[in-house]
């Protein structure tokens, strides 16, 4: 039920829709729940709807956090 997946917007369509992609898999999704969608944005996709954008900078911070913990 809580299945969701990060996808990239590759085309913005009229009517709050967009084409999203992950690793070559494409799907038309609804962007009615988020604002100001741009091609290139990553969003969390759930039951056909983008729930939220992914913030690339914050993502980077988490990765840095992971790496910072690596023992020398």
């Amino acid at each position: 039920m809580c299945l969701a997946v990060p996808v990239q917007i590759i085309e913005v369509l009229p009517g709050d829709e967009a084409i999203a992609e992950i690793a070559g898999v494409k799907k038309t999704i609804s962007t009615a729940l988020i604002e100001d969608v741009q091609v290139g944005d990553y969003v969390i996709l759930h039951v056909g709807y983008a729930l939220q954008k992914i913030d690339p900078e914050e993502a980077q911070k988490t990765i840095q956090l992971f790496n910072s913990q690596v023992s020398a």
Binding site: L3, V5, A23, G24, V25, K26, K27, T28, L45
Partner: protein, 349 residues
Amino acid sequence: MQEKKKHYVRPLNIKNGKIEMNYGAGGKASAQLISELFAKYFNNEYLMQGDDGAYLPAAEGHIVMATDSHVVSPIFFSGGDIGSLSVHGTVNDVSVCGAKPLYLSAGFILEEGFPLADLEKIVKSMAEEAKKAGVYIVTGDTKVVEKGKGDGIYINTTGVGVVPKGIHLSGANCKPGDVIAVSGDIGDHGIAIMSQRANLGFETEIQSDSASLNSMTEALVKEIPSLRCMRDPTRGGLGTTLNELATQSKVGMKIEEAKIPVKEQVTAACEFLGLDPLFVANEGKLIAICGPEDAEKMLEIMRANPLGKNAQIIGTCVEDENCFVQMETPFGGTRMVDWLSGEQLPRIC
């Protein structure tokens, strides 16, 4: 297959015609369908005998017999169609038993209204794949059911093959220590089918892997003295097939997740759909198990075959009275790989 009095009958309107009930009634329309479509494409001396069964040269050694009905939806999909699938599916079941597939039967259940043009495409594709695999479609049957009692076309194929002397493979042969190989990327067929279901509405370039594996199985049978068994991980996928073999041989299995070849697109589609590639169907992949002494050679033979380029050793058989299949994750954790439970998506083969 019966010829009918030629000059009395207008040829089938293959371009625009549709299957009507009388094509399955056993009378003139049935005979016409046979001669203008099935016999035309399947054309071989055995089928042309036209009797109720095909009279076939003796087979030396043991014979193997396998059957599958095919109900896949959609009937045309990326990488194949229900016709090619119906040849591959049964050729592979015969082949994984260590046999050289020789003959196929073809039983069609057609729904009233099915386009003859689609039927021709399917029959053509069966004929081509049979030829590629070196098998003959020697006998057939056609039934027509009323609109609403079928889904266009269902095809049963049953295959007969002959086993070289001294060979007797079985899923019951595995022993602790035996090595498990898979011939390539898993999950392609299932994902290709699902991507073409209108209600799932996603797009991929993944093609079904549907293919006849008999060239690979013949080489393995010939070259691997310690070959225990082979199986094609179709419905239920790799995970279920391994469980079948483990249960049959009364062993456990330990596999490594990192070794299992999966295309990134397949993984991605599985993320979309909440599926595990381990349980997604394949129609052109082989699991083969042999003694540890032949492991490298087995992999070599698989990889030498164009259908086995991505073959991998994925694990070994172990002692386990519960016959569990366990998988080591890349994180060092271990989890069970159980039989497929419920269904992933229906009608994938």
